[in-house]
Amino acid sequence: MKREEEVKVLSRERLAEDVFSIRLESSIGGEALPGQFVSLYTRDRTKLLPRPISICEGKEGELRLVFRIVGGGTHEFSRLMPGEGIRIIGPLGNGFPKRKGKALIIGGGIGIPPMLFLAESRNKEDNIIVTGFRDGDTFLLKELSENGSVYAAIENPGLEADEDHGQEEKFSGVVENESGAEGEDSGAKVKDPVEKNAAGSVFRGAEFTSGWAKGNVLNLIEEKGLSAKVIYACGPTPMLRAIKEYSLRNGIEAFLSLEERMACGIGACLSCVCNSEKIDDHSLVKNKRICVEGPVFPSEEIIL
Protein backbone atom coordinates (compact mmCIF):
# COMPACT_ATOMS: atom_id res chain seq x y z
CA MET A 1 0.00 0.00 0.00
CA LYS A 2 1.52 3.30 -1.00
CA ARG A 3 2.02 5.79 1.79
CA GLU A 4 3.73 9.03 2.71
CA GLU A 5 6.48 8.88 5.33
CA GLU A 6 8.95 11.17 7.00
CA VAL A 7 12.03 8.93 7.22
CA LYS A 8 15.50 9.11 8.71
CA VAL A 9 18.70 8.82 6.70
CA LEU A 10 20.79 5.92 8.00
CA SER A 11 23.89 6.36 5.89
CA ARG A 12 25.28 8.05 2.77
CA GLU A 13 28.03 7.15 0.35
CA ARG A 14 29.51 8.64 -2.77
CA LEU A 15 29.87 5.91 -5.38
CA ALA A 16 31.12 7.82 -8.39
CA GLU A 17 31.64 11.38 -9.64
CA ASP A 18 28.02 12.47 -9.22
CA VAL A 19 26.43 9.22 -8.06
CA PHE A 20 25.32 8.86 -4.45
CA SER A 21 23.83 6.12 -2.33
CA ILE A 22 21.62 6.73 0.69
CA ARG A 23 19.96 4.26 3.02
CA LEU A 24 16.68 5.30 4.61
CA GLU A 25 14.89 3.88 7.61
CA SER A 26 11.51 3.14 6.05
CA SER A 27 8.69 0.63 6.28
CA ILE A 28 8.42 0.93 2.49
CA GLY A 29 11.60 -1.14 2.20
CA GLY A 30 9.93 -4.35 3.35
CA GLU A 31 7.03 -3.98 0.92
CA ALA A 32 8.82 -2.77 -2.17
CA LEU A 33 9.20 -4.96 -5.24
CA PRO A 34 12.18 -4.79 -7.63
CA GLY A 35 11.26 -2.28 -10.33
CA GLN A 36 9.32 0.06 -8.07
CA PHE A 37 10.33 3.59 -7.15
CA VAL A 38 9.74 6.23 -4.50
CA SER A 39 9.02 9.97 -4.71
CA LEU A 40 11.39 12.16 -2.72
CA TYR A 41 10.61 15.72 -1.62
CA THR A 42 13.13 18.49 -1.06
CA ARG A 43 12.98 20.91 1.86
CA ASP A 44 13.49 23.75 -0.59
CA ARG A 45 10.06 25.37 -0.87
CA THR A 46 10.82 26.67 -4.37
CA LYS A 47 11.22 23.10 -5.63
CA LEU A 48 7.78 21.64 -5.12
CA LEU A 49 7.61 18.54 -7.31
CA PRO A 50 8.62 15.09 -6.06
CA ARG A 51 11.74 13.48 -7.52
CA PRO A 52 11.07 9.86 -8.54
CA ILE A 53 14.01 7.57 -7.76
CA SER A 54 14.23 3.84 -8.36
CA ILE A 55 14.69 1.55 -5.39
CA CYS A 56 18.18 0.03 -5.44
CA GLU A 57 17.61 -2.30 -2.49
CA GLY A 58 14.60 -2.87 -0.26
CA LYS A 59 14.40 -4.96 2.87
CA GLU A 60 12.50 -4.92 6.14
CA GLY A 61 12.76 -1.42 7.59
CA GLU A 62 15.30 -0.15 5.07
CA LEU A 63 15.35 1.40 1.61
CA ARG A 64 18.48 2.02 -0.42
CA LEU A 65 18.42 4.61 -3.18
CA VAL A 66 21.25 5.24 -5.63
CA PHE A 67 20.88 8.32 -7.80
CA ARG A 68 22.83 10.74 -9.95
CA ILE A 69 22.93 14.48 -9.20
CA VAL A 70 21.07 16.06 -12.12
CA GLY A 71 19.76 19.24 -10.52
CA GLY A 72 19.09 21.14 -7.30
CA GLY A 73 16.81 18.50 -5.81
CA THR A 74 19.15 15.54 -6.22
CA HIS A 75 21.99 17.74 -5.05
CA GLU A 76 20.07 18.38 -1.83
CA PHE A 77 19.56 14.64 -1.33
CA SER A 78 23.28 14.00 -1.82
CA ARG A 79 23.97 16.37 1.09
CA LEU A 80 21.74 14.59 3.61
CA MET A 81 23.59 13.33 6.67
CA PRO A 82 22.70 10.30 8.82
CA GLY A 83 19.98 11.24 11.29
CA GLU A 84 18.47 13.87 9.03
CA GLY A 85 14.93 13.42 7.75
CA ILE A 86 13.33 13.35 4.33
CA ARG A 87 9.71 13.04 3.18
CA ILE A 88 8.94 10.25 0.71
CA ILE A 89 5.97 8.50 -0.92
CA GLY A 90 6.04 4.90 -2.00
CA PRO A 91 6.28 2.21 -3.09
CA LEU A 92 5.16 3.44 -6.51
CA GLY A 93 4.77 1.82 -9.88
CA ASN A 94 4.71 -1.83 -10.84
CA GLY A 95 7.58 -4.26 -10.48
CA PHE A 96 9.49 -6.56 -12.79
CA PRO A 97 7.40 -9.67 -13.46
CA LYS A 98 8.99 -12.79 -11.98
CA ARG A 99 10.41 -15.30 -14.45
CA LYS A 100 12.29 -18.55 -13.75
CA GLY A 101 15.48 -19.45 -15.49
CA LYS A 102 18.38 -17.49 -16.92
CA ALA A 103 17.92 -13.76 -17.27
CA LEU A 104 19.92 -11.05 -18.97
CA ILE A 105 19.70 -8.20 -16.48
CA ILE A 106 20.76 -5.06 -18.32
CA GLY A 107 21.39 -1.69 -16.72
CA GLY A 108 22.69 1.42 -18.48
CA GLY A 109 24.20 4.21 -16.38
CA ILE A 110 21.85 5.34 -13.66
CA GLY A 111 19.48 2.57 -14.85
CA ILE A 112 21.77 0.11 -13.03
CA PRO A 113 20.66 0.61 -9.37
CA PRO A 114 17.17 -0.96 -9.68
CA MET A 115 18.76 -3.98 -11.38
CA LEU A 116 20.62 -4.78 -8.15
CA PHE A 117 17.29 -5.16 -6.36
CA LEU A 118 16.08 -7.39 -9.18
CA ALA A 119 19.21 -9.54 -9.14
CA GLU A 120 19.01 -9.98 -5.38
CA SER A 121 15.46 -11.29 -5.71
CA ARG A 122 16.50 -14.12 -8.05
CA ASN A 123 18.85 -17.10 -7.95
CA LYS A 124 22.30 -15.67 -8.61
CA GLU A 125 23.23 -18.61 -10.88
CA ASP A 126 20.46 -17.49 -13.23
CA ASN A 127 21.61 -13.85 -13.42
CA ILE A 128 23.75 -12.60 -16.29
CA ILE A 129 24.15 -8.93 -15.39
CA VAL A 130 25.23 -6.58 -18.14
CA THR A 131 26.12 -3.02 -17.19
CA GLY A 132 26.81 -0.09 -19.47
CA PHE A 133 28.85 2.96 -18.52
CA ARG A 134 29.96 6.04 -20.38
CA ASP A 135 33.46 5.80 -18.92
CA GLY A 136 35.49 4.02 -16.27
CA ASP A 137 33.80 5.86 -13.40
CA THR A 138 31.70 2.82 -12.54
CA PHE A 139 29.60 1.90 -9.49
CA LEU A 140 27.84 -1.08 -7.86
CA LEU A 141 29.94 -3.66 -9.73
CA LYS A 142 31.06 -5.37 -6.50
CA GLU A 143 27.50 -5.74 -5.15
CA LEU A 144 26.24 -6.89 -8.53
CA SER A 145 28.97 -9.53 -8.71
CA GLU A 146 27.63 -11.00 -5.45
CA ASN A 147 24.31 -11.55 -7.25
CA GLY A 148 25.30 -12.99 -10.60
CA SER A 149 27.99 -12.88 -13.23
CA VAL A 150 28.71 -9.32 -14.27
CA TYR A 151 29.82 -7.84 -17.57
CA ALA A 152 30.62 -4.20 -18.25
CA ALA A 153 30.35 -2.27 -21.51
CA ILE A 154 32.37 0.94 -21.33
CA GLU A 155 31.87 3.50 -24.10
CA ASN A 156 35.04 5.44 -23.40
CA PRO A 157 37.46 3.30 -21.44
CA GLY A 158 40.45 5.24 -22.59
CA LEU A 159 42.04 2.47 -24.58
CA GLU A 160 41.24 -0.02 -27.31
CA ALA A 161 39.76 -3.26 -25.95
CA ASP A 162 41.83 -6.34 -26.63
CA GLU A 163 40.15 -9.50 -27.92
CA ASP A 164 39.74 -11.31 -24.63
CA HIS A 165 39.49 -9.52 -21.34
CA GLY A 166 38.96 -11.43 -18.16
CA GLN A 167 39.49 -10.87 -14.52
CA GLU A 168 42.81 -12.73 -14.51
CA GLU A 169 44.38 -10.69 -17.28
CA LYS A 170 46.43 -7.60 -16.82
CA PHE A 171 45.11 -4.65 -18.74
CA SER A 172 47.64 -2.74 -20.71
CA GLY A 173 47.15 0.93 -20.69
CA VAL A 174 48.81 4.17 -19.92
CA VAL A 175 48.02 6.32 -16.96
CA GLU A 176 49.20 9.88 -16.91
CA ASN A 177 50.80 10.29 -13.53
CA GLU A 178 51.30 13.54 -11.63
CA SER A 179 54.55 14.43 -13.31
CA GLY A 180 52.93 14.03 -16.69
CA ALA A 181 55.20 11.11 -17.63
CA GLU A 182 53.71 8.37 -19.73
CA GLY A 183 54.30 4.66 -19.36
CA GLU A 184 54.37 1.80 -21.82
CA ASP A 185 52.21 0.83 -24.73
CA SER A 186 49.90 2.64 -27.03
CA GLY A 187 49.95 6.12 -25.61
CA ALA A 188 46.21 6.05 -25.00
CA LYS A 189 45.31 7.77 -21.75
CA VAL A 190 42.93 6.49 -19.10
CA LYS A 191 40.19 9.06 -18.58
CA ASP A 192 40.02 11.02 -15.34
CA PRO A 193 38.63 10.72 -12.68
CA VAL A 194 39.19 6.96 -12.66
CA GLU A 195 42.00 5.70 -10.46
CA LYS A 196 43.95 2.73 -11.54
CA ASN A 197 42.98 0.17 -8.93
CA ALA A 198 45.07 -2.45 -7.18
CA ALA A 199 44.56 -5.03 -9.93
CA GLY A 200 45.93 -2.58 -12.45
CA SER A 201 42.53 -2.40 -14.16
CA VAL A 202 41.36 0.50 -16.27
CA PHE A 203 38.00 0.97 -14.64
CA ARG A 204 36.79 0.77 -11.07
CA GLY A 205 35.53 -2.69 -10.24
CA ALA A 206 36.91 -4.44 -13.31
CA GLU A 207 38.08 -7.23 -11.03
CA PHE A 208 34.44 -8.05 -10.28
CA THR A 209 33.51 -8.56 -13.92
CA SER A 210 33.57 -11.77 -15.92
CA GLY A 211 34.41 -9.76 -18.98
CA TRP A 212 34.17 -6.33 -20.48
CA ALA A 213 34.20 -4.62 -23.83
CA LYS A 214 34.46 -1.16 -25.29
CA GLY A 215 31.17 0.04 -26.69
CA ASN A 216 27.57 -0.39 -25.62
CA VAL A 217 25.72 -3.25 -23.91
CA LEU A 218 24.44 -4.72 -27.14
CA ASN A 219 27.97 -4.80 -28.59
CA LEU A 220 29.08 -6.71 -25.49
CA ILE A 221 26.12 -9.13 -25.52
CA GLU A 222 26.74 -10.01 -29.14
CA GLU A 223 30.52 -10.15 -28.73
CA LYS A 224 30.35 -12.49 -25.74
CA GLY A 225 27.41 -14.47 -27.14
CA LEU A 226 25.34 -13.88 -23.99
CA SER A 227 21.81 -15.21 -24.05
CA ALA A 228 18.93 -15.98 -21.70
CA LYS A 229 15.24 -16.88 -21.49
CA VAL A 230 14.21 -13.40 -20.43
CA ILE A 231 15.63 -9.89 -20.60
CA TYR A 232 15.14 -7.16 -18.01
CA ALA A 233 16.46 -3.72 -18.90
CA CYS A 234 16.64 -0.20 -17.53
CA GLY A 235 18.61 2.71 -18.95
CA PRO A 236 18.68 5.43 -21.62
CA THR A 237 15.96 5.30 -24.28
CA PRO A 238 18.34 4.55 -27.19
CA MET A 239 19.61 1.55 -25.23
CA LEU A 240 16.07 0.33 -24.54
CA ARG A 241 15.14 0.80 -28.17
CA ALA A 242 18.08 -1.36 -29.27
CA ILE A 243 17.26 -4.01 -26.68
CA LYS A 244 13.61 -4.08 -27.71
CA GLU A 245 14.63 -4.64 -31.31
CA TYR A 246 17.18 -7.31 -30.26
CA SER A 247 14.62 -9.14 -28.12
CA LEU A 248 12.00 -9.14 -30.88
CA ARG A 249 14.54 -10.32 -33.43
CA ASN A 250 15.63 -13.22 -31.22
CA GLY A 251 12.21 -14.06 -29.82
CA ILE A 252 13.25 -13.38 -26.21
CA GLU A 253 10.71 -12.04 -23.72
CA ALA A 254 11.85 -8.61 -22.52
CA PHE A 255 10.71 -6.21 -19.81
CA LEU A 256 11.80 -2.57 -20.04
CA SER A 257 11.73 0.02 -17.28
CA LEU A 258 10.95 3.49 -18.62
CA GLU A 259 11.18 6.97 -17.23
CA GLU A 260 9.54 10.31 -18.03
CA ARG A 261 9.10 13.69 -16.32
CA MET A 262 6.59 13.23 -13.51
CA ALA A 263 4.49 15.60 -11.46
CA CYS A 264 2.11 13.78 -9.09
CA GLY A 265 3.85 10.41 -9.35
CA ILE A 266 0.67 8.52 -8.45
CA GLY A 267 -1.34 8.46 -11.67
CA ALA A 268 -3.61 11.50 -11.38
CA CYS A 269 -2.00 14.18 -13.54
CA LEU A 270 -1.18 12.34 -16.81
CA SER A 271 2.29 13.90 -17.17
CA CYS A 272 4.41 10.76 -17.48
CA VAL A 273 2.81 8.85 -20.35
CA CYS A 274 4.54 6.60 -22.86
CA ASN A 275 3.15 5.53 -26.21
CA SER A 276 1.64 2.06 -26.41
CA GLU A 277 1.09 -0.19 -29.41
CA LYS A 278 -2.53 -0.78 -28.48
CA ILE A 279 -5.22 1.38 -26.92
CA ASP A 280 -4.85 1.32 -23.13
CA ASP A 281 -7.85 0.24 -21.04
CA HIS A 282 -7.54 3.10 -18.61
CA SER A 283 -6.86 6.00 -20.94
CA LEU A 284 -8.69 4.77 -24.06
CA VAL A 285 -5.85 6.23 -26.11
CA LYS A 286 -2.42 4.80 -26.96
CA ASN A 287 -0.86 6.18 -23.78
CA LYS A 288 0.11 4.43 -20.57
CA ARG A 289 1.11 6.07 -17.29
CA ILE A 290 4.70 5.23 -16.43
CA CYS A 291 4.02 5.79 -12.71
CA VAL A 292 1.08 3.35 -12.55
CA GLU A 293 0.88 1.04 -15.56
CA GLY A 294 4.71 1.11 -15.47
CA PRO A 295 7.54 1.83 -15.08
CA VAL A 296 8.03 -1.75 -16.27
CA PHE A 297 6.44 -2.75 -19.57
CA PRO A 298 6.66 -5.81 -21.81
CA SER A 299 8.78 -4.59 -24.71
CA GLU A 300 6.19 -5.40 -27.37
CA GLU A 301 3.59 -3.23 -25.63
CA ILE A 302 5.33 0.11 -25.91
CA ILE A 303 6.72 2.31 -28.65
CA LEU A 304 10.04 3.98 -27.90
Binding site: R3, E4, L48, E260, I266, A268, L270, S271, S283, L284
Partner: protein, 309 residues
Protein backbone atom coordinates in the same frame (compact mmCIF):
# COMPACT_ATOMS: atom_id res chain seq x y z
CA UNK B 1 -15.95 35.08 24.23
CA UNK B 2 -17.83 32.02 25.48
CA UNK B 3 -19.19 31.54 21.96
CA UNK B 4 -15.71 30.68 20.69
CA UNK B 5 -16.06 27.07 21.79
CA UNK B 6 -18.99 26.55 19.42
CA UNK B 7 -17.08 27.10 16.19
CA UNK B 8 -16.68 23.83 14.26
CA UNK B 9 -16.40 22.47 10.70
CA UNK B 10 -20.08 23.29 10.32
CA UNK B 11 -19.14 26.95 10.30
CA UNK B 12 -17.26 26.34 7.06
CA UNK B 13 -20.36 25.57 4.99
CA UNK B 14 -20.78 27.59 1.79
CA UNK B 15 -23.29 27.71 -1.05
CA UNK B 16 -22.38 28.15 -4.69
CA UNK B 17 -25.27 28.79 -7.09
CA UNK B 18 -27.69 26.85 -4.94
CA UNK B 19 -25.39 23.89 -4.26
CA UNK B 20 -24.38 23.32 -0.63
CA UNK B 21 -20.72 22.54 0.01
CA UNK B 22 -19.62 21.38 3.44
CA UNK B 23 -16.58 23.67 3.17
CA UNK B 24 -15.05 26.06 0.61
CA UNK B 25 -12.15 23.77 -0.34
CA UNK B 26 -12.21 22.06 -3.73
CA UNK B 27 -9.55 20.28 -5.77
CA UNK B 28 -8.65 21.90 -9.08
CA UNK B 29 -9.33 20.25 -12.42
CA UNK B 30 -6.44 18.28 -13.86
CA UNK B 31 -4.59 17.91 -10.57
CA UNK B 32 -6.69 15.27 -8.91
CA UNK B 33 -7.96 12.96 -11.67
CA UNK B 34 -11.42 11.89 -10.58
CA UNK B 35 -10.18 11.27 -7.07
CA UNK B 36 -9.35 7.57 -7.47
CA UNK B 37 -5.61 7.91 -7.04
CA UNK B 38 -5.71 10.46 -4.22
CA UNK B 39 -8.40 8.49 -2.36
CA UNK B 40 -5.56 6.23 -1.17
CA UNK B 41 -4.24 9.19 0.78
CA UNK B 42 -6.83 11.81 1.59
CA UNK B 43 -10.45 11.26 2.63
CA UNK B 44 -12.54 12.43 -0.32
CA UNK B 45 -15.53 12.82 2.02
CA UNK B 46 -13.75 15.68 3.73
CA UNK B 47 -13.59 17.83 0.60
CA UNK B 48 -16.02 20.63 -0.21
CA UNK B 49 -15.90 19.50 -3.84
CA UNK B 50 -13.85 17.58 -6.36
CA UNK B 51 -13.46 19.18 -9.78
CA UNK B 52 -12.66 16.37 -12.20
CA UNK B 53 -10.18 16.38 -15.06
CA UNK B 54 -11.58 17.93 -18.26
CA UNK B 55 -13.68 15.45 -20.19
CA UNK B 56 -14.51 15.68 -23.90
CA UNK B 57 -16.98 13.90 -26.13
CA UNK B 58 -14.39 11.38 -27.36
CA UNK B 59 -11.02 10.18 -26.02
CA UNK B 60 -8.22 12.73 -26.53
CA UNK B 61 -4.56 11.72 -26.65
CA UNK B 62 -3.03 14.92 -25.34
CA UNK B 63 0.39 16.34 -26.14
CA UNK B 64 3.77 14.69 -26.64
CA UNK B 65 6.05 14.33 -23.62
CA UNK B 66 7.72 15.93 -21.73
CA UNK B 67 4.44 17.36 -20.53
CA UNK B 68 5.65 18.95 -17.30
CA UNK B 69 8.58 20.96 -16.02
CA UNK B 70 9.35 22.34 -12.62
CA UNK B 71 10.02 26.05 -12.23
CA UNK B 72 10.72 28.18 -9.16
CA UNK B 73 7.76 27.80 -6.79
CA UNK B 74 5.63 26.30 -9.50
CA UNK B 75 5.43 24.12 -12.55
CA UNK B 76 4.55 24.20 -16.23
CA UNK B 77 2.15 21.69 -17.68
CA UNK B 78 1.15 20.96 -21.26
CA UNK B 79 -0.83 17.78 -20.76
CA UNK B 80 -3.09 18.77 -23.62
CA UNK B 81 -6.35 17.59 -22.07
CA UNK B 82 -5.76 13.86 -22.43
CA UNK B 83 -9.01 12.24 -21.32
CA UNK B 84 -10.90 8.97 -21.94
CA UNK B 85 -14.06 10.61 -23.31
CA UNK B 86 -17.48 11.09 -21.76
CA UNK B 87 -18.72 7.48 -22.03
CA UNK B 88 -16.02 5.84 -19.92
CA UNK B 89 -15.94 8.87 -17.64
CA UNK B 90 -19.61 8.43 -16.73
CA UNK B 91 -19.34 4.65 -16.48
CA UNK B 92 -16.14 4.55 -14.42
CA UNK B 93 -15.27 7.89 -12.83
CA UNK B 94 -18.72 9.16 -11.90
CA UNK B 95 -19.66 5.65 -10.76
CA UNK B 96 -16.64 5.68 -8.44
CA UNK B 97 -17.64 9.07 -7.02
CA UNK B 98 -21.14 7.88 -6.11
CA UNK B 99 -19.68 6.38 -2.94
CA UNK B 100 -18.48 9.72 -1.63
CA UNK B 101 -20.21 12.51 0.23
CA UNK B 102 -18.74 15.48 -1.59
CA UNK B 103 -19.86 17.82 -4.36
CA UNK B 104 -18.76 16.62 -7.79
CA UNK B 105 -18.01 19.31 -10.34
CA UNK B 106 -17.30 17.96 -13.82
CA UNK B 107 -14.94 19.99 -15.98
CA UNK B 108 -15.99 19.96 -19.63
CA UNK B 109 -13.84 20.56 -22.68
CA UNK B 110 -14.29 20.41 -26.44
CA UNK B 111 -13.07 21.69 -29.77
CA UNK B 112 -16.39 23.16 -30.89
CA UNK B 113 -19.42 24.58 -29.09
CA UNK B 114 -21.43 21.57 -30.26
CA UNK B 115 -19.01 19.22 -28.52
CA UNK B 116 -19.29 21.09 -25.22
CA UNK B 117 -23.08 21.10 -25.52
CA UNK B 118 -23.23 17.37 -26.23
CA UNK B 119 -21.06 16.52 -23.21
CA UNK B 120 -23.14 18.78 -21.00
CA UNK B 121 -26.31 17.03 -22.18
CA UNK B 122 -24.83 13.60 -21.44
CA UNK B 123 -24.04 14.72 -17.92
CA UNK B 124 -27.61 15.76 -17.23
CA UNK B 125 -28.79 12.85 -15.09
CA UNK B 126 -25.51 11.77 -13.56
CA UNK B 127 -23.58 12.12 -10.32
CA UNK B 128 -22.33 15.56 -11.48
CA UNK B 129 -23.60 18.29 -9.14
CA UNK B 130 -22.16 21.19 -11.13
CA UNK B 131 -20.34 21.76 -14.40
CA UNK B 132 -17.14 23.74 -14.91
CA UNK B 133 -16.66 24.78 -18.53
CA UNK B 134 -13.03 24.80 -19.65
CA UNK B 135 -12.64 27.85 -21.86
CA UNK B 136 -9.10 28.51 -20.67
CA UNK B 137 -6.68 25.61 -21.13
CA UNK B 138 -3.73 27.09 -23.07
CA UNK B 139 -2.33 23.76 -24.27
CA UNK B 140 -4.64 22.76 -27.11
CA UNK B 141 -4.92 24.14 -30.60
CA UNK B 142 -8.71 24.19 -30.78
CA UNK B 143 -11.34 25.00 -28.20
CA UNK B 144 -10.59 25.87 -24.57
CA UNK B 145 -8.63 29.15 -24.40
CA UNK B 146 -9.74 30.07 -27.92
CA UNK B 147 -13.15 30.71 -26.38
CA UNK B 148 -11.83 32.35 -23.25
CA UNK B 149 -9.78 34.98 -25.04
CA UNK B 150 -12.60 36.26 -27.24
CA UNK B 151 -15.58 38.08 -25.77
CA UNK B 152 -18.06 37.11 -28.46
CA UNK B 153 -16.99 33.47 -28.50
CA UNK B 154 -17.13 33.39 -24.71
CA UNK B 155 -20.63 34.88 -24.62
CA UNK B 156 -21.85 32.45 -27.28
CA UNK B 157 -20.50 29.30 -25.66
CA UNK B 158 -21.69 30.33 -22.21
CA UNK B 159 -25.20 30.96 -23.49
CA UNK B 160 -25.37 27.69 -25.47
CA UNK B 161 -23.98 25.58 -22.62
CA UNK B 162 -26.27 27.22 -20.10
CA UNK B 163 -29.28 26.46 -22.27
CA UNK B 164 -28.32 22.78 -22.54
CA UNK B 165 -27.20 22.21 -18.96
CA UNK B 166 -29.23 20.67 -16.18
CA UNK B 167 -26.68 21.51 -13.45
CA UNK B 168 -25.37 24.95 -12.53
CA UNK B 169 -22.68 26.20 -14.91
CA UNK B 170 -19.31 27.61 -13.82
CA UNK B 171 -17.14 29.25 -16.49
CA UNK B 172 -13.41 28.78 -15.83
CA UNK B 173 -11.57 31.90 -16.92
CA UNK B 174 -8.11 32.34 -18.38
CA UNK B 175 -5.70 34.95 -17.05
CA UNK B 176 -4.10 35.24 -20.50
CA UNK B 177 -6.29 38.22 -21.35
CA UNK B 178 -5.98 41.97 -21.09
CA UNK B 179 -9.01 42.41 -18.86
CA UNK B 180 -10.30 39.41 -16.97
CA UNK B 181 -13.06 41.37 -15.23
CA UNK B 182 -14.50 42.10 -18.66
CA UNK B 183 -14.59 38.37 -19.40
CA UNK B 184 -16.31 37.82 -16.08
CA UNK B 185 -19.00 40.33 -17.06
CA UNK B 186 -19.46 38.59 -20.40
CA UNK B 187 -20.09 35.27 -18.64
CA UNK B 188 -22.55 36.80 -16.21
CA UNK B 189 -24.44 38.50 -19.01
CA UNK B 190 -24.66 35.20 -20.89
CA UNK B 191 -26.20 33.49 -17.89
CA UNK B 192 -23.33 31.70 -16.11
CA UNK B 193 -24.17 30.68 -12.56
CA UNK B 194 -20.62 31.21 -11.33
CA UNK B 195 -17.05 31.77 -12.53
CA UNK B 196 -13.82 30.12 -11.48
CA UNK B 197 -10.38 31.63 -11.90
CA UNK B 198 -7.58 31.53 -12.64
CA UNK B 199 -6.52 28.83 -15.04
CA UNK B 200 -2.81 28.70 -15.88
CA UNK B 201 -0.61 31.38 -17.47
CA UNK B 202 1.00 30.54 -20.80
CA UNK B 203 4.70 30.20 -20.00
CA UNK B 204 7.94 28.65 -21.15
CA UNK B 205 11.11 27.01 -19.82
CA UNK B 206 14.37 26.46 -21.69
CA UNK B 207 16.96 23.89 -20.61
CA UNK B 208 20.21 25.73 -21.15
CA UNK B 209 22.38 22.59 -21.01
CA UNK B 210 20.38 20.56 -23.51
CA UNK B 211 19.57 23.78 -25.41
CA UNK B 212 16.00 22.66 -25.83
CA UNK B 213 12.53 23.62 -24.65
CA UNK B 214 11.70 21.80 -21.43
CA UNK B 215 8.25 20.94 -22.80
CA UNK B 216 7.61 19.14 -26.07
CA UNK B 217 4.75 21.61 -26.63
CA UNK B 218 7.24 24.50 -26.15
CA UNK B 219 4.80 26.43 -23.98
CA UNK B 220 2.73 25.25 -21.06
CA UNK B 221 0.53 26.59 -18.29
CA UNK B 222 2.22 27.98 -15.20
CA UNK B 223 0.68 27.10 -11.85
CA UNK B 224 1.71 27.01 -8.22
CA UNK B 225 2.59 29.53 -5.52
CA UNK B 226 4.46 31.64 -8.08
CA UNK B 227 1.14 32.84 -9.54
CA UNK B 228 -0.78 33.44 -6.33
CA UNK B 229 -0.43 37.22 -6.07
CA UNK B 230 -1.67 37.72 -9.62
CA UNK B 231 -4.52 35.27 -9.01
CA UNK B 232 -5.60 37.13 -5.87
CA UNK B 233 -5.65 40.41 -7.78
CA UNK B 234 -7.72 38.90 -10.59
CA UNK B 235 -10.19 37.31 -8.17
CA UNK B 236 -10.58 40.69 -6.50
CA UNK B 237 -11.22 42.41 -9.82
CA UNK B 238 -13.77 39.84 -10.97
CA UNK B 239 -15.57 39.68 -7.64
CA UNK B 240 -16.11 43.41 -7.89
CA UNK B 241 -17.27 43.21 -11.51
CA UNK B 242 -20.02 40.59 -11.16
CA UNK B 243 -22.61 39.46 -8.64
CA UNK B 244 -22.37 35.74 -9.42
CA UNK B 245 -20.12 33.72 -7.10
CA UNK B 246 -16.40 33.52 -7.78
CA UNK B 247 -14.36 30.39 -7.11
CA UNK B 248 -10.73 31.40 -6.61
CA UNK B 249 -7.58 29.41 -7.33
CA UNK B 250 -3.93 29.87 -8.19
CA UNK B 251 -1.10 28.61 -6.00
CA UNK B 252 -3.05 27.94 -2.82
CA UNK B 253 -0.71 26.13 -0.44
CA UNK B 254 -2.26 26.75 2.97
CA UNK B 255 -5.38 27.68 4.90
CA UNK B 256 -4.03 31.22 5.07
CA UNK B 257 -3.84 31.36 1.27
CA UNK B 258 -7.41 30.07 1.01
CA UNK B 259 -8.68 32.74 3.37
CA UNK B 260 -6.76 35.39 1.46
CA UNK B 261 -8.63 34.42 -1.72
CA UNK B 262 -11.93 34.55 0.15
CA UNK B 263 -11.19 37.97 1.54
CA UNK B 264 -10.45 39.07 -2.03
CA UNK B 265 -13.94 37.94 -3.00
CA UNK B 266 -13.92 34.19 -3.59
CA UNK B 267 -16.82 32.24 -2.14
CA UNK B 268 -14.90 28.99 -2.48
CA UNK B 269 -11.37 28.02 -3.50
CA UNK B 270 -9.62 25.26 -5.40
CA UNK B 271 -6.26 23.67 -4.64
CA UNK B 272 -4.31 22.38 -7.61
CA UNK B 273 -0.59 22.02 -8.01
CA UNK B 274 0.11 21.71 -4.31
CA UNK B 275 -1.58 18.32 -4.27
CA UNK B 276 1.58 17.10 -6.03
CA UNK B 277 3.75 18.43 -3.23
CA UNK B 278 1.59 17.03 -0.44
CA UNK B 279 -1.25 14.54 -1.04
CA UNK B 280 -2.75 15.59 2.31
CA UNK B 281 -2.65 19.32 1.52
CA UNK B 282 -6.46 19.69 1.49
CA UNK B 283 -6.65 18.14 4.95
CA UNK B 284 -3.98 20.55 6.19
CA UNK B 285 -5.76 23.52 4.61
CA UNK B 286 -9.09 22.66 6.21
CA UNK B 287 -7.42 22.24 9.57
CA UNK B 288 -5.80 25.68 9.48
CA UNK B 289 -8.96 27.34 8.14
CA UNK B 290 -10.89 25.92 11.07
CA UNK B 291 -8.22 27.19 13.44
CA UNK B 292 -8.46 30.65 11.90
CA UNK B 293 -12.21 30.94 12.33
CA UNK B 294 -11.93 29.63 15.89
CA UNK B 295 -9.07 31.94 16.79
CA UNK B 296 -10.72 35.02 15.29
CA UNK B 297 -14.29 34.12 16.29
CA UNK B 298 -15.62 33.94 12.73
CA UNK B 299 -19.03 32.37 13.26
CA UNK B 300 -19.64 31.90 9.52
CA UNK B 301 -16.85 31.66 6.95
CA UNK B 302 -19.05 33.58 4.52
CA UNK B 303 -18.46 36.71 6.63
CA UNK B 304 -14.95 36.77 5.18
CA UNK B 305 -15.97 36.76 1.51
CA UNK B 306 -14.91 40.06 0.01
CA UNK B 307 -14.36 41.61 3.43
CA UNK B 308 -11.23 43.44 2.23
CA UNK B 309 -12.22 46.01 -0.32
Amino acid sequence: MSEKGCITEDNLRVNIAGVELKNPVMTASGTFGSGMEYSEFTDLNSLGAIVTKGVALTPWEGNKTPRTAEVTSGMLNAIGLQNPGIDLFIKRDLEFLKAYDTVVIVNVCGKTVDEYVEVVKRLADTRADMLEINVSCPNVKEGAIAFGQNKDALFNITEKVKRAAKQPVIMKLSPNVTNIAEMARVCEAAGADAISLINTFTAMKIDIYKRKFALANRTGGLSGPAIKPIAVRMVYECAHAVKIPVIGMGGIASGEDAIEFMMAGARAVAVGMMNFNEPFITKQILRSMLQYIQDYNVRDINELVGCVN
